[in-house]
């Protein structure tokens, strides 16, 4: 379907989660008789209240029982349903990990896990509500596709794609109402393919999730210092787009991965795992949470503690343009 400028404005206001559940999901419901959407007592928070009213037969609230939700999702998928299960990203990826491994990964079931408030969107709630290891865990599960949306347009596109894809998938939605937009109505989402937002010659900034917007801001700062950046969006973290990564390695002096996630095992690690198999590739800087938690506060405050805001990343890049070794 065609997306209008008005929709883009509205989706930006709504954020990724509401765009996914309040806008895309009803369309998916109309196209898929076998749809089931499961929540663990977060229907309102996930903007599913209207969906549950309009499609009561396709909706199930399992209460505050996230592990049971995954098992029920598995049972429904074994019976032919296209199942979406959603709660906070940390709950679905960490608390539910073994259920996801045993049922969805092991049996390769057609369940889409939608982790909301990934990264530190739930800023003031503290560590319990942040998701900073979900990519690590989900990526390690055989057969699991892992995606992370940069903005509401991409969240919408991922929703549409996920309904057509058969198999287990984890979609990481981070983003609040009034989320900064990276794409417009002309965006063509290509699954499993890195999206290049701008091309430069010195540094490749590879972002995922909200860090894609931050990478664009970083590139602006660096361009004023005469450093030319490519900005890439790795929305599909698994399977990895080796072809585009190789091209980025071949044509830049420095690779910078940017994620709102622990630097251990996340998107940056996925890039590094592939890079390590190749000869003569540039060095990589890992921008992310430096294997630590921090005190709660605003998102901006937390990002600053971790050094992942655009000005901080620009400084880190400048320091590392010389070629000396980099301690992550």
């Amino acid at each position: 379907m065609t997306i209008t400028k008005g929709q883009i404005r509205s989706w930006s206001r709504l954020g990724q989660r509401a765009t996914f559940f309040a806008n895309a999901m009803p369309e998916i419901a109309k196209q898929n008789d076998n749809l089931m959407v499961l929540t663990a007592d977060l229907a309102q928070l996930s903007n599913l209240d209207r969906f549950s009213n309009n499609f009561p037969d396709k909706f199930l609230n399992v209460g505050i029982a996230e592990q049971n939700m995954i098992g029920i999702a598995a049972g429904l998928a074994m019976e032919g349903y296209l199942v979406y299960a959603t709660t906070y990203a940390s709950f679905i990826a960490v608390r539910d990990l073994e259920h996801v491994r045993q049922h969805l990964s092991n049996l390769h079931l057609n369940v889409k896990l939608i982790g909301t408030a990934a990264g530190v969107v739930a800023a003031r709630s503290g560590v319990a509500h942040w998701a900073s290891e979900d990519i690590t865990f989900m990526r390690a599960l055989p057969g699991m596709t892992v995606m992370s949306a940069a903005d509401s347009v991409e969240a919408y596109a991922m929703a549409q794609y996920s309904a057509k894809y058969v198999g287990p998938m984890y979609i990481r939605l981070n983003g609040v109402p009034n989320c900064p937009m990276v794409y417009d109505e002309n965006y063509v989402f290509e699954p499993e393919k890195i999206s290049i937002l701008q091309r430069g010659s010195d540094v490749a900034l590879i972002g995922t999730g909200l860090m894609v917007h931050e990478a664009l801001e970083t590139a602006k700062i660096l361009s004023e210092c005469g450093i030319s950046c490519t900005v890439a969006n790795m929305h599909t973290i698994k399977p990895i787009d080796k072809e585009t990564l190789k091209e980025l390695f071949d044509n830049h002096k420095l690779i910078v991965t940017m994620e709102e996630h622990n630097i251990i095992g996340g998107m940056g690690s996925a890039v590094a795992e592939y890079k390590a198999t190749l000869n003569n590739t540039p060095r990589q800087i890992f921008i992310g949470f430096p294997d630590s938690f921090t005190k709660a506060g605003t998102t901006q405050y937390i990002w600053e503690q971790f050094g992942i805001t655009a000005p901080q990343v620009a400084e880190t890049v400048k320091k590392n343009m010389g070629g000396e070794s980099y301690d992550r």
Binding site: V62, I70, G71, A73, G75, A77, E79, Q102, L107
Partner: protein, 280 residues
């Protein structure tokens, strides 16, 4: 539920169970020094015989027919009881059984293989019941009349997510769900009451809104009576009082026989007891 509780049927199922016990002993012996999950296998032999011999509406010639009953083995450490039942029903051949310890074979581990009646890959305890809830919800939504049976151990009731699933089974009024608990009173490290007490399990299950039925899990007639008492408006649980290692005099009620190698002498003793009518 339509269950044949006649004396002839009891006697037929008893003979089936004796054949299964013989096959299980052969499997245990063939496992050699690696040992086998003896205790929890022999505690649920009659439960398996009654399920496959009478209760389950399944057809090995059409193994994934949508209308079939589902059986999820949650306490998966009982393949020496499950696989002989699959032989009896015709899913696999008796000659297949010894392959259950062979590298890469179809039967090794806890395989998911619906074509031979293996509806679930368990092993990590406490997880199958949630899947069963999902399948039971599906049946209700689609207006299908199959039932979902989940065989659980009593030790695994320590797992927390099981109680999430029990709550949801009642919430969604899953009268098509039948939980069978092999209450053999032992877990790996000792008795269930010493390690982590279950207390009045019957009262617990009733308080969760289940139609709760107690029976002797080695008494075929009592098992048939229990399945005959299942309701169809609320979820059911049949708590089967059993003996871990039942029929192996040297292993009964001994936690160390959870998994252990059996000697030729022990095999001979158990077989003589079985054939001499001392077990059932």
């Amino acid at each position: 539920m339509c269950i044949n509780t006649s004396l002839e049927n009891v006697s037929r199922l008893k003979e089936m169970s004796i054949r299964m016990r013989k096959m299980a002993l052969d499997m245990a012996l063939s496992a050699g020094a690696k040992g086998a999950h003896i205790g929890g296998g022999f505690s649920c032999m009659e439960i398996m015989a009654v399920l496959y011999g009478e209760v389950l509406r399944v057809d090995p010639k059409d193994p994934v027919r949508p209308e079939r009953d589902r059986l999820l083995i949650s306490k998966n450490h009982c393949t020496i009881a499950h696989f002989p039942a699959l032989v009896e029903k015709g899913y696999i051949k008796e000659s297949d059984l010894s392959s259950y310890t062979v590298n890469g074979s179809r039967l090794i581990g806890y395989p998911y293989d619906p074509e031979i009646g293996l509806e679930y890959s368990g092993g990590s305890l406490g997880m199958a019941i949630s899947v069963g809830v999902g399948q039971a919800i599906s049946a209700k939504k689609k207006g299908m009349d199959y039932k979902v049976y989940v065989l659980m151990g009593d030790g695994e009731l320590n797992e927390g997510s099981i109680w999430e699933a029990f709550m949801s089974a009642r919430q969604f009024r899953l009268g098509n769900l039948v939980v069978i608990i092999d209450r053999n009173h032992l877990c790996y490290d000792g008795t269930t009451e010493d390690v982590m007490q279950l207390g009045d399990l019957c009262a617990k299950m009733s308080s969760f809104g289940f139609n709760t039925i107690n029976c002797n899990g080695h008494d075929i007639a009592d098992l048939l009576r229990a399945f005959d008492m299942t309701a169809d408006d609320v979820p059911n649980v049949i708590i089967c009082d059993t003996v871990k290692g039942k029929g192996l005099s040297f292993a009964e009620n001994r936690p160390e026989w959870h998994q252990k190698a059996i000697t030729q002498e022990q095999y001979d003793t158990a077989l003589a007891d079985l054939m001499g009518g001392k077990v059932l």
